[in-house]
Symmetry: C2
Subunit: 205 residues, 2 copies
Amino acid sequence: MSPRSSLAEAARTRSAILARGAAVASVEGLAGLTIGRLAADLGMSKSGLLGPFGSKESLQLQVVEAAADVFWREIWEPVADRPAGLARLAAVCGSWVRYLADPAFPGGCFFVAAASEFDDRPGPVRDLVLGYAERWHRELREQARRAVADGDLPAGTDPEQLVFELTGLVLALHQALRLRHDPDGVSRACRGMARLLGVPVQPTA
Amino acid sequence: MSPRSSLAEAARTRSAILARGAAVASVEGLAGLTIGRLAADLGMSKSGLLGPFGSKESLQLQVVEAAADVFWREIWEPVADRPAGLARLAAVCGSWVRYLADPAFPGGCFFVAAASEFDDRPGPVRDLVLGYAERWHRELREQARRAVADGDLPAGTDPEQLVFELTGLVLALHQALRLRHDPDGVSRACRGMARLLGVPVQPTA
DNA sequence: CACTATAGCGAACGAACGTTCGGCCGCTAT
DNA sequence: ATAGCGGCCGAACGTTCGTTCGCTATAGTG
């Protein structure tokens, strides 16, 4: 668009491509993301868009990374200062629910969609998505583990099981909101989480 | 393949197309299903395959219907003779888990994938998937409602909330099995369901 | 035994896919 | 001032997409 170009402009172009790419992919899917569509959306040529990335797969991988940055910034960082353990776990649950109710991308949570889309398609994209999913899982489990160690959750509580069920509530919320357009999804997810954690969960950071 | 053709053969061809279509779509996605790929898989020509359906969207819709038949037959029918209420609800949960652990399609549960893929894509396919999802949801809720009415679940239990959380456990199981390849997913889902229902849940019809 | 209906094939269509290549043009550095 | 670097474009590539249009060959009907 802008007639000026420079290294700074190039970086901004790259960011715009990735942001738009994540937005489109959250709706159409990461595989349904096409160079031509993306270029048209941004008023660029296909070659100019593909240039900084080299291939579609490379573009996909960097879109996933960009979406992971957004995910982390929107959900984790706002509650990172809460005391480790139950307080932080409850806070991140509330933050997570808020993110699904008011998502950064038009298609809702990017990773819920990407995880389902690539769970059976081997390759670098799946590996990357899986890596982020496991990192997130580990982070939550660590908070759950501390909550149990601190005595804030009943002794004998299995942190892995707790994370499994919390994740399930988030996935159910995603489906309730995006497919069924159920306005009660948020309160149901919060209620389920509160029962698992023994403390209130509210959809805010 | 077979040199003979007849009305009966045509029906069998149609079934083969839909079966293979559902299998491919469970992995590649319903949108990623292509006529050429499907025709090559079945040793047919593209035109011969598209003939009985007329358009790709019509094919997609009939693939969804075929997958719904399989879903219903594999999960609901084996437990339809259980007494309505908690017994049937617990049985269908076990049947549901078994289906996810040993799915009829190579990509796992067709509807988990389709719901996520089309949740943000308006059109007939989304409408059809949503219709089946709501029908399933209603069926489960009815069993939950009866279980409460029968006194088999604590008074004041919200059937809708119960179905929401059961669905969440299934979605978490799908992700654990297909993305994370977690061998403990089945037992975790059953444990969560048993806690919600107050009775054991086992992954068998 | 001819007659009709139809399942499926083969070829072709325009459009869109991802990718490559050469050149323009504005920035940066000498 | 000028040389060079690099972001981006325009055009074209070979492939695959969904779809259409005759055609053949076979199965059921009189």
